[in-house]
């Protein structure tokens, strides 16, 4: 399953092997507390990071008083991938960069499969599909490092300048290996040549475990400055034949040109010797290669078709043989030059012993076999058996992770390849490489996309995506790209996405908005409503009532909004002073009129309107305003939703209207209505559950008098 490495307290990365074993690896957690430790507690933090809290026994006893130790500590353990070669920031850059190629490929996959509709997955023999996969692979590859990796040793000028290119990474090397074997079907014809290039780019990585041709060249280059007569140093010849064996022709030719015989003062005495050196250099640079093209820097002659290549190869071999048998060797005085050059000729002629001597790791020997012993190898044929043979010839106690990956690939064992990817390069690699693997064969496609009961009904491919998404969600800067991968998981992705979104913090508005936006994108309305609910309650409880109501409204949380209106309603009923009016007016506004859900809300709205017009009346003296206020009073009193306990406060508040000097504002029937209400109220007072409003005792009587007066005036008026 998920293969992990972890970053424990001391920051060291420990590879976490997933091999079956009896006892699991035990990692230390450095908490830096003085023993004893009393208690441990664990909790999952974001994604798959685990928080371990360590508590010391409480101080306070005899000794604890003075030790000044902290009471506990929380250590976060990351159960992620982690390639020590790549920094966190670089990882995030890769994670972000790979989203777009991945998403593009997924959308192409779905459009292709909807077009064909024959099978769930695009046919691996669909030409267009190859092009998509290789485009995807190139995009990812360019993310992993500069597109133009320069090989380490380039001997630029006679006094040896080592030009350092961008440091190659194993991740990129591994990706290219996958690309060569699974994605790039066009270059299958000249697979060996691609491997030659691959080794040229990444041989330096292999030096970490054992000596390589690269490391030998680097070593020699350091000595080069000190050497007076270069051709007398056996290492010069050794290094050159090694480089020749693995096909670094440009390096060899460049080094040959450092030969002492080229120097002007010696040219005359060493004419023959120089001629031989130059002849070998020319032969090397004319080496026929079965490939469509070569880098400008690299040497050799390219042949696209095999017949042409075979013809050229035989001609070239004949030239070498001719040179090998020529009489000039006798005339060459310098023994080193003579032997060195002839050894190089033997390498070119495919002498197995010479090749064996010239190479250091089996992969180098393997490459040299392709170059000089089996130049006509095309495609995948017998590559694995040759690899096994080379491994036997150059046994090694342990292999570099790239080599293990290569062995898996050559063995055509998808499980091994996946396991190596996952163990050595982490979940990112697996998820993205699966696209290449499945492009390789239908069998792999079935293996990776078959739903398995043992995994709870998901495929291996989906499992890896889920694991990767979890890794992404463990970091605050990457969780937002996890949805892309989760939505590509048909079976379990959405549920995990819901959990991920729901567990984001609501305390920061920006994050909250982003979270809601993601919900909208994936049509997860119920999740966004839960999130908004949580946000609403959070703000409400933290004294920001406005925001609270806003978010609860967004969540359409009728239950809580009702409760809030109820609260408001209750508090409004208790005291109806102008100050409290100000307090709740805004919330009424915010609760809005459109939400019909709240019981007393409609009333509160009308009540607010009434209060407002009443305020206008008290400000100015216009009869129009007063008439309007009187009308809203009647509306309120008529409305059955107006609770009884508000009747008296309402009437008492509008005493001024009832006693309006210029003219009676209420007509007879209106006044009668109010009087009836007043009567009803007097009856209700007799009931035990009646709540006496917080008004002066004379309130009722003064309202009654005002109404009676008004009635009289209204009758007169009519």
């Amino acid at each position: 399953m998920a293969v992990m490495a972890l970053d424990s307290g001391d920051g060291s990365l420990v590879p976490f092997s997933s091999e079956t074993r009896d006892s699991p690896v035990v990692y230390p957690i450095h908490h830096g507390l003085k023993p004893p430790v009393a208690r441990l507690a664990i909790s999952w933090s974001r994604g798959n990071s685990l928080r371990v809290s360590v508590f010391r026994p409480p101080s306070g006893n005899d000794s604890g008083e003075s030790d000044g130790e902290v009471g506990g500590k929380v250590v976060e353990v990351k159960l992620n991938d982690g390639d020590p070669e790549i920094s966190d920031g670089q990882w995030r850059r890769i994670a972000y960069g790979s989203v777009s190629p991945f998403a593009l490929l997924q959308s192409r996959r779905s459009s292709v499969s909807s077009l064909s509709k024959m099978s769930m997955s695009p046919s691996p023999y669909d030409v267009d599909w190859w092009e998509y996969v290789i485009e995807y692979s190139k995009d990812i590859s360019s993310l992993l490092g500069g597109s133009n990796l320069t090989r380490g040793p380039i001997i630029e000028d006679p006094k040896a300048v080592l030009k350092k290119g961008e440091e190659p990474t194993s991740l990129k090397a591994a990706w290219e290996l996958m690309e060569i074997f699974y994605a790039d079907k066009q270059s299958q014809e000249w697979l060996p040549e691609r491997l030659v290039d691959w080794l040229a780019d990444y041989d330096s990585l292999l030096s970490s475990t054992h000596a390589t041709v690269h490391s030998k060249i680097v070593d020699f280059q350091k000595e080069l400055v000190r050497l007076q007569v270069i051709e007398n140093d056996p290492k010069y010849w050794e290094v050159m034949s090694s480089a020749l064996a693995v096909g670094w022709l440009d390096v060899v030719v460049k080094m040959l040109r450092l030969h002492g015989s080229y120097q002007l003062d010696q040219l005359s005495n060493r004419e023959t010797e120089n001629g031989l050196v130059e002849a070998v250099a020319i032969l090397i640079s004319k080496m026929p290669r079965l490939r469509p093209e070569l880098d400008a820097r690299k040497l050799g002659e390219c042949f696209k078709s095999k017949p042409d290549f075979v013809k050229a190869w035989e001609k070239w071999r004949a030239q070498i043989t001719k040179l090998d048998c020529s009489a000039y060797w006798v005339q060459c005085d310098n023994q080193h030059t003579r032997e060195g050059l002839r050894n190089m000729l033997h390498i070119m002629l495919g002498n197995a012993d010479s090749l064996h001597r010239a190479t250091y790791q089996w992969i180098e020997l393997y490459i040299s076999h392709f170059l000089y012993i089996r130049p006509f190898t095309m495609g995948f044929e017998s590559m694995y058996s040759l690899a096994q043979k080379c491994m036997q010839l150059k046994p090694m106690s342990c292999y570099h992770r790239l080599i293990r990956l290569l062995i898996g690939i050559l063995g055509e064992n998808t499980e091994v390849v996946l396991a190596e990817c996952s163990r050595e390069f982490g979940p990112w690699m697996v998820v993205h490489a699966i696209e290449l693997l499945t492009a390789g064969s239908e069998q792999t496609e079935i293996l990776l996309h078959e739903e398995r009961d043992s995994l709870g009904g998901i495929s291996i491919g989906e499992l890896h995506r889920l694991v990767y998404a979890q890794v992404l969600s463990s970091h605050a800067l990457t969780w937002q790209i996890a949805p892309i991968y989760l939505t590509s998981c048909v079976k379990q992705g959405m549920s995990l996405l819901e959990i991920l979104l729901y567990s984001q913090s609501v305390q920061h508005n920006q994050l909250l908005l982003k979270n809601i936006e993601i919900c909208r994108l994936y049509e997860l309305d119920h999740v966004s409503s839960s999130i908004m609910k949580v946000a609403g309650v959070y703000h409400w409880k933290h004294g920001r009532k406005g925001s609270g109501v806003f978010w609860l409204q967004q969540a359409q949380d009728a239950v809580r909004l009702n409760k809030i209106s109820q609260q408001l309603f209750d508090s409004v009923g208790k005291s109806i002073s102008d100050e409290s009016f100000k307090q709740w007016e805004g919330i009424i506004e915010l609760l809005g009129s459109e939400s019909k859900t709240a019981v007393g809300l409609e009333f509160l709205h009308k009540y607010r309107d009434f209060k407002k017009s009443l305020q206008q009346v008290s400000g100015g003296k216009t009869t129009d305003a007063a008439r309007q206020a009187a009308e809203s009073l009647i509306l309120l009193m008529k409305n059955p939703s107006t609770p009884q306990r508000f009747w008296l406060p309402l009437l008492y508040d509008s005493l001024k209207l009832l006693n309006w000097l210029e003219q009676p504002l209420l007509n007879v029937s209106q006044t009668n209505l109010l009087l009836n209400k007043l009567q009803e109220l007097s009856m209700a007072r007799l009931r035990p559950d009646f709540i006496e409003p917080n008004l002066p005792t004379h309130a009722l009587s003064s309202v009654r008098i005002a109404l009676a007066t008004n009635l009289g005036r209204a009758i007169l008026e009519e």
Partner: protein, 419 residues
């Protein structure tokens, strides 16, 4: 898909400025409409600067230390009584609550409110401890805190605090109008028998609280008002959780564990799993093995299904196993549920069929019995996908368990403390 690519870039223009601006405008207009009132402050401008896209050095290790104030106090009796801290599940904002024993008989709350932006847990400001202790210590009386349980976030930032003496109090973080944030006790449950564990869950749009008592009862309370945590109603009581109460003496359980099915929609049925442990040497010694009444009482675990028509109790473990902890795994799409049960024999992984058979019984199968921890298992936590189980216990180890590609459960890693 391809089009939305830019959206996902951290520093992308669309996501972080355009979308945000439109939202903010909408928000502001709503808030502005109500600024006239005093009680309606603007949305606090707590927005944090956008995280830089990349390359920002992030501390790999995030550790925080809690400074427990050095105050003279009584000696803590025992270590294991000390503290059990339970972290808020499901919230990656990662608020967490260390619980402090004895020193002042209180607990303090540590937040990682940085949630969105940072990966570091800020140092605990000492004032927070100083401020909280008096309030809480006055009410959390004698004895230490056994456990802290978070309330689901839809009901505010609140915890339930179980004390060793068996009382439970509910604490809530609130800020009244202009006052600073404070923790307020909103409810205290007292009972003749001790509360051993409680867990919150949402069922039928209501917040429920399930409590397990030392006499083997399980009670279910319901919150009446979703905005006030002080009004709880006893909804159900199950006395027969531990059937066959011994004929002599009073039944006593020493620890209990409850776990809700994490997949609880507000409108769905929910289930819980309960485990009890009456772990004393007398009860479990061979001497008493024959005394069926006692040994059978040892522990058992049951399952409640279908909302609160609590049906079909299902035994997952034999009655005489001591169940230390139970934990229901999140299910993101498996056709079965997974429950981890820690007993004295090891950690059992149970698979539960989702559909009951004709008799209304659920099928359950023990797919693994994992041994590794020596002694009691204190705590088990599933990760967000329900694929990894983290456990810790008396042996001081943290262990991680996963199923491999063949569905075989195994220990994936272990962590040992070193100072």
């Amino acid at each position: 898909m391809a089009k939305s690519v830019n959206v996902w870039d951290c520093g992308s223009t669309l996501y972080d400025s355009f979308e945000l601006k439109s939202f903010k405008r909408q928000l502001d207009s709503a808030i502005l409409a109500s600024t006239r009132t005093l009680s309606m402050p603007h949305l606090p401008d707590r927005r944090v600067p956008l995280p830089p896209t990349q390359q920002q050095p992030h501390p790999q290790q995030q550790a925080t230390s809690f400074n427990i104030p050095k105050k003279s106090s009584k000696i803590s009796r025992s270590l294991h009584k000390l503290l059990r801290s339970v972290f808020k599940p499901n919230k990656s904002s990662g608020s967490f609550f260390p619980v402090k024993d004895q020193t002042k008989d209180g607990f303090y709350v540590v937040y990682d409110k940085s949630g969105s932006v940072l990966s570091t847990i800020p140092e605990v400001p000492t004032f927070e401890i100083a401020k909280l202790s008096p309030e809480i210590s006055s009410s959390v009386h004698e004895g230490s805190i056994l456990k802290i349980v978070w309330v689901p976030p839809e009901y505010g930032d609140a915890v339930a605090c179980i004390c060793v003496d068996g009382s439970v109090s509910l604490w809530e973080e609130v800020a009244e109008d202009a006052q600073p944030v404070q923790w307020k006790m909103c409810k205290s449950f007292k009972n003749s028998s001790k509360v051993l564990d409680i867990q919150f869950g949402i069922s039928m749009t209501r917040l429920k609280l399930v409590a397990a008592y030392s006499d083997g009862h399980v009670k279910v309370y319901e919150l009446l008002d979703p905005l006030e945590l002080n009004n709880w109603q006893l909804q159900a009581e199950y006395q027969n959780v531990t059937e066959s109460v011994p004929s002599f003496g009073k039944a006593l359980c020493f620890s209990a564990s409850i776990s809700w099915n994490p997949q609880q929609g507000e409108s769905q049925d929910s289930s819980i799993v309960v485990g009890f442990n009456s772990n004393t040497s007398e009860l479990n010694s061979s001497k008493f093995k024959s005394e069926t009444a006692l040994t059978r009482y040892g522990s058992l675990i049951r399952l409640i299904k279908d909302g609160f028509q609590w049906q079909s109790w299902l035994h997952l473990e034999k009655k005489d196993d001591q169940v230390y902890a139970v934990k229901w795994a999140p299910n993101i799409g498996r056709p079965f549920e997974v429950i981890a049960v820690a007993t004295s024999k090891g950690i059992a992984i149970w698979q539960l069929g989702l559909n009951p058979d004709q008799d209304g019984r659920l099928s359950a199968e023990k797919v693994a019995l994992l041994s590794g921890h020596e002694g009691e298992v204190w705590q088990m936590e599933w990760d967000m996908s329900g694929m990894t189980l983290a456990t810790t216990g008396r042996d001081g180890m943290v262990r991680l368990w996963q199923a491999n590609l063949n569905g075989v459960w195994q220990e994936q890693a272990a962590f040992e403390l070193t100072s």
